[in-house]
């Protein structure tokens, strides 16, 4: 028994979409715990901003970001066997270049717009993070779009309605939101 060309093409498309869905779910399961770790980093960092004097903020974030990067590297090793070594190296460079571009963008924006109070400096990273996750969601993995939208919305709600407690708002809702988003990804 043979099959038609269109049946064969449809079967090949099914194979490709199934393999793609498998890669996507695996990506979520690897990305979930990383997002949870960054949720904890956010919560601690913004709590530190709410509790410490502004001249200590830089050191706090430096230490917490270093912990976040170390956690990301450790948790990424779970996915080590999932991708070929070449692709892994390429992805590592892309991730590092992407993170550098985002940091440079935030620094450049502060340099140009020079916020005169601390509130814009507190809320802006939340908006940028939301944008980055939304971009990843549109381009590769749809669940990140919802996480990005939630982080951006939470940052704006804090800006408009909870300015006196903005740092704690960002710790609870931003950090908590990333943590819950990570749980959602992990269960995919």
């Amino acid at each position: 028994m043979g099959i038609s060309k269109s049946e064969a093409a449809s079967a090949l498309a099914d194979i490709e979409s199934t393999a793609g869905r498998g890669r996507l779910l695996k990506g979520y399961q690897i990305g979930g715990p990383i997002l949870m770790a960054w949720g904890a980093v956010w919560a601690l960092g913004y709590c530190a901003m709410g509790l410490l004097a502004p001249d200590r903020w830089g050191v706090s974030w430096l230490v917490l970001d270093a912990i976040g990067v170390a956690a990301t590297i450790l948790l990424s090793r779970r996915g080590k066997r999932e991708v070929a070594a070449g692709a892994r190296a390429a992805n590592g460079w892309k991730t590092a270049a992407g993170a550098f571009a985002i940091l440079a963008f935030v620094a450049a924006t502060y340099a140009v717009f020079r916020p005169t109070s601390v509130e814009p400096a507190i809320v802006f990273p939340g908006l940028v993070t939301g944008l980055v996750y939304a971009g990843v969601g549109v381009a590769f993995a749809p669940r990140y779009l919802w996480i990005g939208a939630a982080v951006s919305a939470a940052s704006l709600v804090g800006w408009f309605f909870f300015q006196p407690w903005l740092a704690f708002w960002m710790a609870a809702v931003g950090g908590g939101g990333l943590f819950v988003g990570g749980l959602w990804l992990r269960r995919a």
Binding site: M1, A19, A188
Partner: protein
Amino acid sequence: MAQLDELIHQPLRLKIMAALHAERDAEPVEFSRLKAVTQATDGNLGSHLTTLEKAGYVEIAKDFVGKKPRTRVALTPVGRKAFRRHVDYLRAVVEGVDGD
């Protein structure tokens, strides 16, 4: 020339084989994840896995993680070979080597 494998060609079995084939080093896949990837129901997935296991295309291992039962499925070397042959056949048909 590659040939149609009617056992694999059934739509859900094709998805199961594709999902397992996509695993590097033939790593076993948990039943729950296979269910999510293939978008099948428990009963349907279980019955097609039994068919594939009887054909020697997949291996099913059951164990416990703590008190929780776990079922994992992996492609056998025979299954991997059969799937590749089936994909070669599909490509040949699409490229006009065979079929209508």
